[in-house]
Amino acid sequence: MDYQSSKLSSTFLRSRKIPSTACSGCGLGMNHKIVVQAIQELGLGVADVIWGTSIGCAGRQTFGTWKGDSFAGTHGRVYAIARGLRIAMPPEKKIILTVGDGDAFGIGIAHLIHAARSNADMTVIVNDNLGYQSTGGQYGWTTPQGSKTDSSPYGMFEPNLMGEGMDVLEILKGAGATFLARHVSMDGLQAVETVKKAIQNKGFSLVHMPYPCPTNFASRQLGSRNQVNIFRWIQSHAAPLGEEKAGTIWATGIWHDASNSRPEFNEFVWETVEKIRRTGKI
């Protein structure tokens, strides 16, 4: 496994950014590896992917790691940037965005919904560290209900976006996303298989991947920074879709796969432009 990891990183990542500056015990590296391994297993090279990142732990720690072309956007706006970029890029270039839960489901949700609506070809990996951790640990929109955080010292009492009938993945499905999945970072190779499908969908894909934050989330919610505790806590609250038990927070697997079922943004925009240019009408 060591050999596999170092080969992955030497092929696809910049040595200057390895190891990352993430906290000790942070689970982000697992998610990062899942994405890079999916890219490798699909036979894609460094030149095939434009990598975009957001603000927060997930964005900051993954920015500049990809050997190819990369950009970091302002908080919540990478989905809008990526839509503009999608128009300018040849369709075969993949756009992969590694973002955080606050970025995607908080400040950026309007742009995310419009990226899904237009079915713009991009793969959004939402690395969910269970709240706003780079600012010290405040609750976010997929923070487990009742969690104690720095801004919910009595427990998070607002409804989050993972409740019955109001799951953020259902919202995005309603908005027209063509591939949606959820995995916890410990799902390993299962998650790799899902991310491969997400990248292969010529359209808007999103994979929600909660991962452990020992430094802020665990220290407040579990009273310990011991990484084993938070890893086990997340694992024990995750179950495959259809096998949920009482206490399951994250139902994992593919939520919605309508891959390649709808016209893709770049293609229908350019086809329409070409028709108008030639005939003056659609």
Partner: protein, 391 residues
């Protein structure tokens, strides 16, 4: 050359196309809506893309994305939408991404009067985003024809300076119908003084060195140059780093690439009756300048020694026009006085600077003439109460 009786919005659209614009994203807002409509009509005809965005913030971010992908991009709005550009404007300045932004001024604050001209964003055009440590370039045309010229020029400057360049118009210019000539080929463009700079691609180092040099091509993604482009403090290779010295180098480039190269655009102004040391210099920009020019011509016929200075290059502020000790009258489409503050700062210490504000409508010739006469006789402009404040 083709002649039209058309709006400023039409002229801006044609100017953008002449400059090579192939991407426009916008959000409907009075009085910039017709520009979006006209782009949606014209861009596909020339192989370009018009997209309507979910808000102005997304519109400008989409333009940044398209520009990062190698397209020349533009967006347009009015004051209430311009404040939503604060986020992407900073990003485009920091990442040094070329694009053009048009603001058609209306009466503020907030929603104010939607269908009437205002000039309340003089300082906002200088500081369109937070954080400081940057210069901005802003051009202010006063006619539909000049809107076309300044749109072409804004694209030219944005490519050479690697940054967003803004055009500040107002409701009267963008909505008003005027006689417009559109050049039909490169020769005609040259005759009209239109300059075009092609998009070039930074081949590395991945980001930019700490220099005030112009014409370093901007980062374009998708060419496998290993480009890194971020809103963080960049190292010269583009890596993010939180370090004061690296940030100082970055800020130096953002500030001095503009300050040290003002000669590229500081010829953009108009002077009328200014050669004989006038006793009063009337300063304005945008539509009020058209009334000012007429008023000054009439004042000269009456024997008043008045001159007119019209600013087109608004930012960086062209201080070189204000080194004479004389009387100044600043005419603006607002009641709080914005340009007047900048002029007060720029003139020699004991110069007298007066302010005549109106908003939602242009100043009248009699009101200007009355002001000229009073100032030249050293009488106060002040009236009582809300009608006009004393300056």
């Amino acid at each position: 050359m083709k002649r039209y009786l058309e709006t400023g919005n039409f002229a801006i659209t044609e100017g953008a196309i002449l400059a090579g614009c192939t991407f426009f994203a916008g959000y409907p807002i009075t009085p910039a809506t017709e520009l979006a409509e006209s782009m949606s009509q014209r861009l596909p005809q020339v192989g370009g893309v018009y997209l309507q965005a979910e808000d102005e913030c997304a519109a400008m971010h989409m333009c940044i994305g398209a520009s990062l992908g190698g397209m020349k991009a533009m967006t347009a709005t009015s004051g209430p939408g311009f404040i939503l550009y604060a986020d992407p404007y900073g990003w485009a300045l920091g990442c040094e991404t070329p694009l053009v932004v048009l603001n058609s001024g209306r009466v503020g604050p907030v929603s104010g009067i939607t269908g009437a001209p205002g000039q309340g964003e003089f300082y906002l055009m200088r500081y369109p985003t937070q954080g400081g440590n940057f210069e901005t370039i802003c051009l202010a045309p006063n006619s539909a024809q000049e809107c076309m010229a300044m749109t072409v020029e804004a694209f030219y400057l944005s490519e050479r300076f690697r940054m967003p360049v803004s055009v500040l118009a107002d409701q009267l210019i963008t909505d008003g119908f005027e006689d417009i000539s559109v050049p039909e080929n490169e020769n005609e463009m040259q005759e009209m003084g239109y300059r075009v700079w092609p998009r070039k691609i930074c081949q590395g180092p991945e980001f930019y060195p700490a220099t005030d040099e112009l014409d370093i091509p901007p980062v374009v993604l998708g060419h496998n140059t290993g480009a890194l482009c971020s809103d963080w403090t960049p190292t010269e290779e583009g890596y993010d780093i939180e370090e004061v010295e690296a940030h100082h180098k970055h800020a130096y480039r953002l500030i001095y690439k503009v300050r040290n190269n003002r000669h590229i655009f500081n010829h953009l102004y108009e002077k009328k009756y200014m050669d004989d040391d006038p006793d009063l210099v009337v300063v304005s920009y945008g539509t009020p300048s058209r009334v000012v020019n007429t008023a000054v011509t009439r004042a000269r016929q009456q024997g008043l020694k008045v001159g007119a200075l019209r600013l087109i290059n608004l930012w960086p502020f062209p201080e070189e026009h204000f080194n004479r000790r004389t009387k100044y009258l600043i005419v603006e489409l607002n009641w709080d006085g914005q340009l007047v503050r900048e002029v007060q700062r720029a003139v020699p210490k004991d110069s007298k600077v007066h302010f005549l504000g109106s908003c939602g409508d242009l100043p009248t010739l009699p009101s200007l003439n009355e002001a000229f006469e009073k100032i030249l006789k050293d009488e106060s402009l002040a009236r009582k109460g809300w009608e006009l404040e004393e300056w």
